[in-house]
């Protein structure tokens, strides 16, 4: 396993070479957060409760969603798109290296670096904006949250691979159409910018069947303690089902994709 640790390290160093890009990305996330914060703050100056959220809970939601964004999502996972499209995948296919573990290592290098930045940002934001901090009360809740957050990250790992694998079939422009569409769904259905409770109950039920809400919204609900035990378990089952499906699809798509790749090469 030393090889994957080495990949982690080299990935880490590589990201640091692009320091400015990383900083720009973090600045972008902070400004995004602030924009949404001001928006909801203004909403709550006139209303006490919206969709079951008070000002305090809403702001706490936004904060934990921010954390989950850095933990669950990652940018490096889409580099597979590019590698498959331009043939750099060859470098991995001729070597005794497992492409997935390689990718997992790169993914976590990206995530940990981002989380480090986040930990500094969150302290600053909380102090300057005097943000309310809400956290789980019981140890059980903490453990649940950590477990679910990690499963969400794993789910996203396979999900982003499936999106990237579109490059096998559509290498032009690195397979962007599917990525574009998926990013759009993530924007609106993952709970990234607002809790999904603002949608009417019928729609919310539908969204809860889709995988997107399990990246941010569901883990955030667990953190805030807003789910009953039954709801937590139901959510977890749906989440695991999606994870299982993604894993299965990944296996199939990878095999099929390699066959196509092995037919035409790049």
């Amino acid at each position: 396993m030393k090889k994957y640790w080495q990949i982690f390290r080299i990935s880490w160093q590589n990201t640091l070479v692009y320091r400015l890009n990383l900083v720009m990305w973090r600045v972008r996330l902070i400004i995004d957060f602030l924009t949404i914060y001001w928006f909801w703050w203004a909403v709550f100056t006139q209303y006490q409760l919206i969709g079951g959220y008070s000002q305090v809970t809403m702001l706490a939601y936004l904060l934990v969603a921010s954390f989950l964004r850095s933990l669950v999502f990652s940018n490096s996972s889409y580099s597979a798109c590019v590698e498959i499209a331009n043939g750099d995948l060859n470098n991995y296919l001729v070597r005794p290296i497992n492409y997935f573990y390689n990718w997992l290592a790169r993914d976590w290098a990206d995530k940990i670096l981002n989380l480090l930045f986040f930990s500094v940002e969150v302290v600053l934001l909380v102090l300057i904006l005097k943000l309310p901090l809400l956290w789980p009360i019981s140890l059980g809740q903490w453990l649940w949250f950590i477990l679910i957050a990690l499963v969400a990250a794993l789910m996203y790992f396979f999900f982003s691979f499936l999106v990237s694998a579109f490059s096998f079939w559509y290498p032009e422009h690195d397979g962007w159409p599917l990525r574009f569409v998926m990013l759009m769904f993530l924007d609106f259905l993952s709970g990234m910018a607002f809790p999904l409770d603002i949608f009417p109950p019928a729609l919310l039920q539908l969204f809860k069947l889709l995988p997107f809400s399990y990246f941010i919204f569901y883990p955030a609900q667990v953190w805030l303690g807003r789910l009953s035990f039954a709801e937590t378990i139901t959510g977890f089952i749906i989440m695991l089902s999606w994870l299982g499906l993604f894993m299965l699809l990944t296996k199939l798509v990878w095999r099929k994709g390699l066959k196509i790749y092995g037919a035409y090469g790049r």
Partner: protein, 329 residues
Amino acid sequence: MAVIEVANLKKYYQVWQKEPGLTGSIKSLFKRKYEDVKAVDDVSFSIGEGELVGFIGPNGAGKTTTLKVLSGLLYPTAGQVSVLGYTPFDRKPQFQKQFSLVMGQKNQLWWDLPALDSFLLNKEIYEVPQAQFDQTLDDLVSMLDLKKVIKIQVRKLSLGQRMKCELVAALLHQPKVLFLDEPTIGLDVVMQQKIREFIRGYNQKYQATIILTSHYMDDVKELCDRVIIIDKGKIFFDGKLDEIIKKYADRKTLEVVFDRPMSKKDFSGIRAAKIKTFMPTRTVFTVKRAKVNAIAAELLKSFPVVDLNITESSIEDIIREVFTGRDLS
């Protein structure tokens, strides 16, 4: 047992014809007209340990495709392939640890980091013991004169230095088989020479089996005893280089520039020179090897020559001759 055995290898691609324009794109979603491209069409050969073989042929001949099949990147449409006793497309780790593929136009080095970092990564990937790694690295670095270069970001290196580093990265695990695809492409003449010397030296020192593809005749001349000529997916010649040169490339090309317009009639006196291309002030002749110096001297003496250039027949010329079966004598 031969290190590399290829029997009746075929690699066909199916491509579809797309008509230009928007209607073409829509049509291609529904009905596609498939066409077979025969990249490799019934190729067989076998290579023994320590051999340094050149694959030559024009662009699109099937050289790179063959290498890709031998490395396991592409699966054969038909035929048997065996390298070191393994089927390449199975991609077994034990197999992968024993060979290397270097493609002249593609990188394996991490672009923004020093080459040394990529070397260390390869060390881990191939599970090379530290002592062996240190020794091999030292060896290669001194053979290629890279001491000052390996700690600089790869993006800042010249093309030649980058190519050298790619070679080092590929050889750290002392592969028994080395596939080199166009290793000297884009390099200047001096660098090409250096790379060739290195490959020859490496082959002799480590007894590695090396297949080299190129469309530069000089690469092959300098390095390979044995050449395989490929064109349009078929092998046209497999044997010693001397034979080809003797048999097919017994003419050299003489390019002459005159300071005033000439006509074809002016050259009718020179029997041994055949005109390849004619322009009033610039003419290209092909002349039998033995006579080339004499003809050149005569041209210089009798005609207002401004510039004169003697080169080998290009690969394209040789191959063209080989196919049309025309004897160049």
